[in-house]
């Protein structure tokens, strides 16, 4: 979080974390496409030749002034593949809150858990921990056939009882709700 008194801005960094191909970029793309244009910056997407996120995706959400002060939110995704671990570490640096986008497909169960543990390890490296950090879970791809019941995913991933959202990011279902939820949590923790 940055407070710039000269420009009367407060900037928060929110990172979408999760396994590869789980829908992190889809969340950001949907938000960007459906927000009022006046509220958002250009969407920066750095993809590899295989259309996978290479470094990160990014855009800035800038709200109107409140009591003369301008709140801004920097939204980032991380690259999901394990071999981009260094990029994930850097993108997570200075994050104020995290949306963990889990892939609901049964075959991705271990990937979800591994990536959540990876998140915790990287938070610990920053002297933080999931237990004392604002984060929410998004169970994405709820429209697909071979998915785990939400109760099973809750038992596996939501051991800290954080807010969770059942989403279909590609259709925009629960995408805005997830972002509102994580920001509300962030504001409560300030």
């Amino acid at each position: 979080m940055h407070v710039n008194w000269l420009r009367q801005e407060i900037v928060f960094k929110i990172v979408y974390y999760g396994p590869g191909l789980g829908g992190k970029t889809t969340n950001l793309e949907y938000l960007h496409a459906h927000l009022e244009p006046a509220l958002r910056s250009r969407l920066v997407v750095l993809k590899s030749p295989e259309e996978r996120t290479l470094y990160f995706d990014f855009f800035e959400l800038a709200l109107g002034a409140i009591k003369g002060k301008k709140p801004r939110f920097h939204l980032y995704t991380i690259p999901g593949q394990l071999y981009y671990a260094p990029s994930r570490k850097i993108v997570l640096r200075g994050a104020d809150a995290v949306v963990f986008v889990a892939d609901s497909q049964s075959a991705r169960r271990q990937d979800n858990l591994d990536t959540l543990m990876d998140l915790e390890m990287k938070l610990i490296q920053q002297d933080k921990t999931l237990a004392h950090f604002p984060w929410v879970l998004q169970y994405n791809k709820r429209d697909l056939a071979d998915i785990e019941p939400v109760a099973t995913m809750e038992a596996t991933l939501n051991f800290l009882g954080v807010p969770h959202y059942e989403a279909v990011a590609v259709q925009g279902i629960a995408v805005f709700e997830t972002l509102r939820g994580v920001i509300q949590l962030l504001l409560q923790r300030l």
Binding site: M1, H2, V3, N4, W5, L6, I10, V11, K13, H34, L35, E36, L39, S41, R42, V44, L46, Y55, F56, F58, F59, E60, L63, G64, I66, K67, K69, P71, R72, H74, Y76, P86, S87, K89, I90, V91, R93, G94, Q126, D127, K128, G172, F176, L179, R180, I183, Q184, L187, L190
Partner: protein
């Protein structure tokens, strides 16, 4: 004006004096080098202060990408068996070029300049600026009261309501 940072997990503040001093250092750098833009930012991707031609630029995206550039090359540095990151990065374009310098572990300086300006001049002046800025960074101290002044209950309440209105698909 206060600029807040987290350093080693703690919130610290760049003093008003240091902020204005950094702005003056950037102005001096631009004046002496004829560069187009000088930007001081943090490695998390936040632009802190800039001087020069930035009206047409998306500074938020530019800073986020530059921080990513540092992240990627730090890893390259490690992979070639070097313990520390590269001290500076240089990208040469057909008309304009970019010079990036790390300022300690947490910040960086970006200079955008036309190719009519000699790289050597930019290098010398940028490193001179980095040395001066570093002196102020070292004086960072932990402070959190300023944030509470900014984020009082009424502000948080109004922000929550505005988010509720704005964060909906159009």
């Amino acid at each position: 004006m206060e600029m807040q940072q987290r350093k080693n997990g703690k919130r610290v503040v760049l003093s008003q004096t240091a902020y204005h001093q950094i702005a003056r250092i950037l102005e001096e750098l631009l004046g002496r080098s004829q560069a187009r833009l000088a930007l001081f930012a943090d490695m998390s991707g936040y632009p802190v202060v800039h001087r020069g031609e930035a009206d047409t630029l998306d500074l938020a995206a530019l800073t986020a990408l530059a921080a990513g550039d540092f992240a990627a090359t730090a890893e390259i540095s490690r992979l070639i068996g070097q313990e520390s990151r590269f001290k500076f990065l240089y990208h040469e374009g057909a008309q304009r070029s970019l010079y990036l310098c790390a300022v300690g572990a947490d910040y960086f300086l970006m200079v955008v300049f036309d190719n009519s300006v000699a790289l050597g001049i930019i290098r010398v002046l940028a490193h001179y600026a980095v040395e001066k800025i570093s002196r102020f960074i070292q004086s960072l101290k932990q402070e959190s009261e300023q944030t509470h002044q900014f984020l009082d209950f009424e502000f948080r309440d109004l922000l929550a309501r505005q988010l509720d209105r704005s964060l909906r698909p159009r």
